[in-house]
Symmetry: C2
Subunit: 170 residues, 2 copies
DNA sequence: TATGACCCTGACGTTAACGTTAAACTTTTC
DNA sequence: GAAAAGTTTAACGTTAACGTCAGGGTCATA
């Protein structure tokens, strides 16, 4: 037995639609996953330890197997780290809120409006929380963008002065 | 004797023009400088240890005194750290190149074109180096700006979906 | 089925960027 | 001019995010 997934991994996908290209399945090993993402295997184990990225498959022998979905998740983590400069704790917070939003949307679609008042207020609370974090993040990003843009302008100005000096030197 | 600056600190400024507001002079102590910049005194000592920021004054007793100019320099360091996410080594490299450019401009103006060929080729080399670093930095910033902007767009989209859901919940 | 290539789980090591503390010295203030 | 407040150097401590290594299993392939 190669893999310890009892339910069919294709028919049971959270997203009902069949994937574009049938996955070569059973996932890839950790070193390959790491190489594709440009990180080390140790990093993947560490992220798992922190609860950031759990491979969706394990072999019977206990080896990690990563799916394409896992790799996408990893890419999101790395984007938050590299582009936004978040530390791993902030990333976990952000991702957990994202997950809760997804769940909320799922249950919302499932119950289709016929929810109790209690459930509805809870959903509202989650949505509010999401909005708050979203807006605070967007604001931080905007100010950072402005400052970076200002810096870039200074760089351009400096470059111009360099060019002028070079020109004067014939 | 309060300060160990033999020449007059006002008349001997590198920039000949008199400062807009006569400085209350003799500089501020380390903890005040740190507080103004929003960092710790330890950080200032550490930056000095790394050669990033040397206070322009010392009391006879050996205490650091920071001038407004020092604080501006510190602000630049912090901008490189916070906005661009540079580490302290990268910051030092960048600042040292900036300093060399300033020196180059100074000697250029001083000699007013009457330089030897050897000196001129050296100046050209420095300018080229500066341009290379400048462009590489500008490029990095641009790609980072794009990715951050993309992320912000995703956030906006998410926020919109949240608002729609909230509206549906009446 | 053997064997080389991988992987597992500890566990300790590393680096950057400071934090903290101690013991002695300066500066300021009353 | 003496206490209070602040500073100095030196040295060890801390945290995040992994690196590295040992000892022992697992996988793929010939």
């Amino acid at each position: 037995m190669p893999v310890t997934t009892q339910p069919d991994p294709v028919l049971d996908r959270p997203d009902a639609a069949a994937p574009a290209t049938a996955p070569s399945d059973s996932g890839i090993r950790i070193s390959d996953a790491a190489a594709r993402a440009g990180v080390s295997a140790r990093t993947l184990r560490y992220y798992e330890e922190l609860g950031l990225l759990t491979p969706s498959l394990y072999t019977a022998g206990g080896e990690r197997r990563y799916t394409d979905e896992d790799l996408e998740h990893l890419a999101r983590i790395l984007e938050l780290r590299e582009v936004l400069g978040m530390n791993l704790d902030e990333i976990r917070e952000f991702l957990s809120l994202e997950t809760r939003l997804d769940e909320l949307r799922a249950t919302y679609r499932a119950t289709k409006g016929s929810t109790t008042k209690k459930a509805r207020t809870e959903q509202k609370a989650t949505l509010q929380e999401a909005m708050v974090l979203n807006e605070s993040l967007a604001e931080q990003i905007s100010t950072k963008l402005e400052r970076m843009d200002g810096f870039r302008a200074k760089l351009r100005h400096d470059a111009q002065r360099c060019r002028e000096l070079l020109a004067e030197l014939d």
